[in-house]
Point group: C2
Chain length 227, copies 2
DNA sequence: GTAGGATTCAAACGTTCGTTTGAATCTTGC
DNA sequence: GCAAGATTCAAACGAACGTTTGAATCCTAC
């Protein structure tokens, strides 16, 4: 067979994962049937159950394939920053870039399906199914802890409890921005292609988030003071 | 029938809507079957189709019931602010409070189901089904335009294109914060009851968002300058 | 009290779902 | 080149889905 160049190691598995990323992003988990998925991927209906075990296991494999490297990249970026700073405290902007950069870079990977995954991921934080949220949380936890420590060092004047909330806000801004595809156009008629000028979007996000993280502490009538 | 105090006008309709709010929030639209819904609401299986026409029409009625008053409240709050300001420009914090106040007040309505709705709404911005997103956008559009104008007046130094993105970020922060129920606990072990101290949460959100909206304009290597 | 519209009811409709099965086919190691 | 494992295939499984039906029941107005 001279035409077959190289034998793909796990061609069926990979093709299922790629198509699942796209269809789950377009229609959601529940609304994507195995029949549509397997026919789109040009594999047999039973292939998903053979290679992954079940639809749920496919979803889990899908997240693990992307999320582990992405969070590893985040932590590595943070490590590099801290090493080259040599003990000096990092600027919050640097930490923010280390965090959001991995996501933004993946949105530029339209060909490889990375963009599909990022948009799928953004909507999954609010996914109803508990097990999916639990998986996401589990895959994120180590990187989260790492960034919490880093931000606490960069923002010593922000109490830890407040910082946790601000990280939460940051997380929300990022995931919503990357996941919502058309809602933004309802706020205003922005040219859709701007969304994928990742460089400009990153600058906008960093400016907004850095200001938010560094905001003066909130004053509230409640006498509860951060410990 | 002395025991029946008052005849509820649309008891079945209302009970279906209330239960739908709760179940859709817990399990999502697709995963909530009509059989579970109607049996939980203690109505006949055919009641949804009789009173609403279909499951999709029920979803639409559910959003209309809450979203129209909520956005009307937002606009009214903004009107009141501008009237009492008498021509003087508003502070961004005031506008933010007018926008997020309606949502936060509804999260305190645990009894009436408002909290269910807010959490459901937050996850619906990224809902896969196009028709649902379109409905949400349509119901939001007038209030959005109103707040865009108000913020543009309060932030004259922010170019309109940048402002639209920052509103987008604000929207994401709010919806994610109100929708995500347990993801925050993965960032850090924050006491869950804090989430529903609406007063404290509002102060935190306003501080974060006001700083973000007022942030210095982003500098990016790209020479594209806001028009 | 009785006609007539509104509502509720149990039952069934046809469809689609995720998964399983067992044989057929391909791939690999010797 | 052949046994053995890995993979693919067509077909079917039982269950659950949203919706429809037509009779039964309730409510209201006269």
């Amino acid at each position: 067979m001279p035409l077959r160049a190289i034998k793909p190691e796990h061609e069926t598995r990979t093709r299922i994962l790629d198509v699942a990323e796209e269809l789950f992003m377009q229609h959601g988990f529940e609304a994507t049937s195995m029949r549509l998925l397997t026919s789109t991927a040009r594999v047999n209906l039973a292939a998903v159950n053979y290679h992954f075990g079940s639809k749920d296991a496919l979803i889990e494999a899908l997240f693990r394939r992307r999320l582990d490297p992405m969070n590893a990249e985040r932590v590595a970026a943070l490590d590099a920053l801290e090493q080259q700073a040599g003990g000096r405290p990092l600027a919050p902007e640097q930490i923010i870039r280390a965090f959001i950069g991995a996501s933004l870079r993946m949105t530029e990977d339209a060909k490889g399906g990375g963009r599909n995954f990022i948009r799928l991921l953004g909507r999954t934080y609010t996914e109803p199914a508990k097990q999916i949220r639990a998986l996401i949380g589990q895959l994120y936890a180590p990187a989260m802890e790492r960034f919490k420590t880093a931000l606490a060092g960069a923002l010593p004047e922000v109490p830890l409890e407040e910082l946790v909330w601000r990280m939460h806000f940051m997380f929300g801004t990022l995931s919503y921005t990357l996941a919502a595809t058309d809602t933004v156009q309802l706020i205003a008629g922005c040219k859709p292609e701007d969304r994928y000028d990742a460089q400009l979007l990153e600058a906008r996000l960093v400016a907004f988030l850095a200001a938010g993280l560094l905001a003066p502490l909130p004053q509230h009538g409640n006498v509860r003071i951060a410990a």
